[in-house]
Amino acid sequence: MSVVDRQEWDVVVVGAGGAGLRAAIEARERGARTAVICKSLFGKAHTVMAEGGIAAAMGNVNEHDNWQVHFRDTMRGGKFLNQWRMAELHAQEAPARVWELETWGALFDRTKDGRISQRNFGGHEYPRLAHVGDRTGLELIRTLQQKIVALQQEDHRETGDYESRLKVYQECTVTRILKDGRRVSGVFAYDRESGRFFVLRAPSVVIATGGIGKSFKVTSNSWEYTGDGHALALLAGAPLLNMEFVQFHPTGMVWPPSVKGILVTESVRGDGGVLRNSEGKRFMFDYIPDVFKDKYAESEEEADRWYDDPDRNRRPPELLPRDEVARAINAEVKADRGSPHGGVFLDVSTRMPAEVIRRRLPSMYHQFKELADVDITAEPMEVGPTCHYVMGGIAVDSDTAAARGVPGLYAAGEVAGGMHGSNRLGGNSLSDLLVFGRRAGWHAAEYAAGLAGARPPLDDVQVDEAAAEALRPFSAEGPVPGEEEGRPPENPYTLHQELQQAMNDLVGIIRRESEMEEALKKLADLRVRARRAGVEGHRQYNPGWHLALDLRNMLLVSECVARAALERTESRGGHTREDHPAMDREWRHINLLCALTDPTGGLAATDPVRGQITLTRETTDPIRPDLLALFDKEELVKYLAEEELSSDQL
């Protein structure tokens, strides 16, 4: 019998970002006793980094906006690979989710008549992003956090205990989903502060852990983004969808090295910032792809007129979708037309008066002033692509957010796949969190209630195995790491750096077959070495140990990205193949699913060719005819294969 502490809940939510908190609120409001587990302090989740806004077709600024237009923009942005039912639900429900935030105390920027103001953003036809200056993510997190506190206060009034129905376990990490047969039975976790293990028994688990950016060297993501949720789902037997699609945000800081990757918000370009190369040329005019030719300006004069008169001019090419801009910057740097520190110039200083810059972009002004000693009102910024978001993720049912093949497992937010297709539009992530966070919490609570007395039991063997796995870096079992072959133990920090370098160089923004094969070899090598990762000290708040455990997840997820990227022989959205530069309509309806090669969940597979991950192809459901009818036929022929178009609905 294992001696690990246990508690019982109806729903356990892993992750306390926007999606996790929204799920927890929904589950609790539907009567489920709900626990939230997060790696950081409550309220520090990566969602706070979101700057631009929440996309929702409320039509406050332009009354022509509606969910159909939003749906269309989302599908275009994702190059029609989106799980269309998710995109539909998302566009339909986003306004209600934003309005609901107001009833919980959120304070968005206002229009003249007192409604929620909305701003323009790349890929959105109308001004659509509800925002609060350039700190919308913070407002979102704080509002959800305070709503949770409000619910706890309610519980306190009724039961005398704040945490009787909704509790946040902060600074705790989940390392395994526990199962009873195919069904979820709970989670195994450790408390980062004390290092102690504990088990939460629950029939429903919602994964809302965010992304995978920390597998890449240059990233806008925080340390938490180690792909934990992706790996937990894989290990629990749920497949991941389209992991090759990783969004590189075109504008991250490149200098100084310590801040390389930190985001420079898209609003800089939305408000008039332009991209120039070392020759002073606005190079984006050379990179407008055919599918967008008629929507973007051809001359600087026309582009400049757009800011004041968007109805009679086409938008500047700096506002192309993120994947296009990121590739263009990459190409300029490769052609030796980059800035001194390997980026390009993003300039607002010659475009707007200094005080306007300080008013419209306060946090960018401070970010550059304080971190790079650059006064953006006087000189251009240096920017380059940075790993920002993963479109791929846990394959889920569109309506219920249930993960495939594992009853009781749900996923929402960045960790879930499908919603954004091959490329996400700015602003669609925050609305995604709210719409599908709520749906995940709702269905998780319903599933738990449906089981009533017949809850899946915990398996002590699994608990013991999970404990042994987590203790491995201390060599609590077996030979001392490193001593088995007379080699010193591996430093987890070094392994992490090598992994990041490999993914950045070999599976980065532009991909080649040979490099990805090399990456798979490197990953196999790292996998072997990671088993010997050793740590010093004890279990109390030991960051070396925490990193050693996170390495497992990053290696699993990185392999998914590399394998899927190698398989997909086309370029689309966040996946660019130098050896297959064109978008291929035949790939439009193909999903790539990653599953664990060894379904028993063991991680012994170290064969570089075979690896831990098995890929399968799957044909997607045809898009519902009434949704297809929202597009012009001329547009659809660019994306859809012949047989999809021949359906008579068009």
């Binding site: 502490d5 246990r6 508690q7 019982e8 409550f42 704040y162 945490e163 509790k167 946040v168 376990y169 902060q170 600074e171 705790c172 408390d191 502060e193 004390s194 102690r196 504990f198």
Partner: protein, 283 residues
């Protein structure tokens, strides 16, 4: 099911009050013996504040009790205006009304100074200045204070700081009278209108600073608009609040500037009245 006690309830950890008051050296905190680890000259600001305030206290005490050299036609020292006792020097057209009879035996400045003194003593800026400078509560940010116990402004006498607003009303009256004095300064020593001297300029500068300090007061900001929940329903008060807010951001500078200017105006009157200096007349 009740939560297992062995797992620490995360949100409640460490909130048990440890009632031993060791300040930053309280048992559960990081064991660091030094009361602070600041390496900059943190003591400079409180020391300068204390020195400045002390200098004013010494000067104003001397002048307030001096009961002499406070009127040199057409100028009346701001320390003695309005002059409300029978013993006041006659000030033709000036603000002296013998409300207090001959029984008032000491300097008439004492009657009136209580109001500007009370205004400044309860002022939100000066409170910060003397709590830091004189009381060392705290001496500077993250520098341990020497007191064993602290109750702030929760009880007598410091709870009286809450009457700042009433001193503000009084300060408006006093500023009004000083404005009147400044108008009177446009006379010559024979009380004829349309003249100006160096003293007039001194008085003008002083009254502008006094008004700026008075209306930049936090209580004023609250009264003109800060107390409203909906600015949009009171556009005029909103504009006033915005304007006072801009001045309020300079409250500290105005507090010092007006403190110096009022002392200078008094000193100028003293110099002229005592005959040490002759007021240069412009016209």
């Amino acid at each position: 099911m009740s939560p297992d006690k062995k797992v620490r309830p995360k949100l409640a950890t460490g909130t048990e009050p440890h009632l031993n008051s060791g300040g930053v050296r309280t048992g559960t905190r990081a064991a660091i013996a030094a009361p602070h680890l600041r390496t900059d000259r943190w003591w400079l600001a409180p020391a300068a504040t204390a020195a400045g305030l002390l200098a004013f206290i010494v000067y104003s005490t001397w002048r307030a009790f001096a009961d002499a050299h406070y009127y040199a036609s057409p100028y009346v020292s701001p320390f003695y205006s309005p002059c409300l006792a029978e013993r006041c020097e006659p000030m033709p057209g000036g603000p002296n009304w013998a409300i207090f009879g001959s029984w008032w035996g000491i300097s008439p400045a004492i009657i009136i100074l209580i109001f500007p003194l009370g205004f400044r003593l309860t002022c939100y800026y000066y409170r910060k200045a003397y709590y830091r400078g004189f009381w060392a509560s705290p001496p500077a940010c993250a520098v341990a204070e020497p007191h064993k116990k602290y109750t702030g402004e929760t009880r007598f006498p410091l709870i009286l700081q809450n009457i700042h607003r009433y001193f503000f009303y009084a300060a408006i009256l006093v500023a009004g009278i000083l404005t009147y004095d400044t108008v009177l300064a446009f006379r010559n020593e024979h009380h004829e209108w349309g003249h100006m001297g160096l003293g007039t300029v001194v008085f003008l500068v002083n009254i502008v600073l006094i008004w700026a300090y008075t209306v930049s007061c936090h209580s004023c900001r609250h009264i003109v608009g800060g107390r409203l929940k909906h600015f949009s329903k009171h556009p005029v008060r909103y504009r006033m609040w915005t304007w006072v807010g801009k001045l309020n951001a300079r409250h500290m500078q105005l507090a010092w500037a007006s403190l110096v200017s009022v002392a200078l105006a008094d000193f100028y009157v003293y110099l002229v009245a005592s005959g040490a200096f002759d007021d240069p007349r412009f016209f």
